[in-house]
Amino acid sequence: MTRLRQQILILHLAVSSLEGRTVAWAFFDGTLAADQPQMQSGDTEKPPYESVLAAMRDGWMVIQLPTLPVYVPGHEHESGHLPYEYVLERKVDLDSL
């Protein structure tokens, strides 16, 4: 069985540009065992990277760019989920940890 594991970093930016400021972040770490704690709500105050571009410079691979918001007539002044959600990936060899 392969010893490669996936780490997923989700960065939400203030605008759609990859240089935009990070306003929310989440990390799901496939290298951790089931009994090891993952990132959970409220456990950090500062984002790991100031932007997606900064994370790319540190070796993260972008695997999802969000589609831009669609403004439905009559509902332009409504909001919901954080719209500029980027998903980044890093593959880690367990033998290198």
Binding site: V15, V23, A26, F27, Q40, G42, D43, E76, S79, G80
Partner: protein
């Protein structure tokens, strides 16, 4: 003051609190902007201690705490508490549900971000959820985490569950006797309790008993110090959507004031667009 769906308690219709206890225009503007209003020293120490004893010693299931103990209802019958509730949901709010939320000592798992219940179809009307803290609840004890300004963003229950940390998230560290009044739509989650003491938070959800127009003390609602609460209520996490958020709270302000001519929108754009 609070009406019930069951026969356990009959509704008591009253004339309302003395104006000095009524929610002020500044407090309403803060609620409209942030989606919550935190009021300290609302419940006196003696009553806090009595409720705390009930929580720790009576072993009543959380959903029956409201109906089976007198002290908690006495807290919500205080004029300074009723005045805030009256300002938000009117004279005869409808009891929706209540629950005594407990996080045991050393419970280190946080809840996922969520909005309570189900996505709400009302465009402007709102329920409130009062979170009452009977004991000091410092950050390490796991007070509720909320996202200020998120109450008007549509999220369906745990559709936001993969979010973990958001700029501006706020731990509701509270002193005993504090009640936080929240808009039903605010994003929130329970937090880990790193202490060796059980954490209790009592939640009471109330629906409006009438249209929510002008229920609060409207004195000064057009004053600059009130308007600027809404004008300057931007949150960093709102990013590019912040102006849309501004206009959404401007519409909510029209609703709660009952004044369709008042315009506190971004660049007063509601007036410019004739809407």
């Amino acid at each position: 003051m609070i009406a019930y769906k069951t026969e356990i308690e009959k509704p008591k219709i009253e004339a309302g609190v003395d104006k000095k206890y009524l929610l002020t225009a500044k407090q309403m503007a803060t609620f409209v902007t942030n989606g919550f209003l935190m009021v300290e020293n609302l419940v006196p120490d003696e009553l806090n201690q009595a409720i705390n004893r009930d929580q720790r010693e009576l072993n009543i299931p959380g959903y029956r705490f409201w109906t089976e103990t007198d002290n908690i209802r006495a807290a919500f019958d205080l004029p300074q508490v009723k005045g805030i509730i009256q300002g938000l949901v009117g004279l005869n709010p409808v009891y929706d549900h209540s629950f005594l939320h407990v996080v045991k000592a050393k419970h280190l798992k946080a809840q996922n971000w969520h909005a309570d219940s189900i996505i709400d179809l009302r465009p402007l009307a709102f329920d409130i959820q009062a979170f009452y803290f009977s004991h000091d609840t410092p950050r390490e004890m796991g007070p509720t985490l909320i996202l200020p300004g998120s109450h008007l963003r549509k999220a369906n229950t745990e559709s936001i569950g993969r979010y973990k940390n958001i700029v501006g998230q706020r731990q509701l560290e509270a002193k005993a006797g504090t009640i936080v009044f929240m808009h039903h739509g605010i994003w929130h989650c329970a937090q880990p309790n790193y202490t060796d003491q059980t954490r209790y938070v009592f939640k009471l959800r109330l629906q409006p008993g009438q249209v929510q127009h002008g229920l609060f003390n409207m004195d000064g609602y057009k004053d600059p110090e009130v308007v600027q609460i809404i004008d300057k209520g931007y949150q960093e996490w709102q990013g590019n959507e912040a102006r849309i958020e501004h206009n959404m709270r401007a519409r909510l302000w029209r609703y709660v004031t009952g004044d369709d001519s008042v315009d506190v929108s971004f660049e007063r754009s509601l007036t410019r667009m004739g809407v």
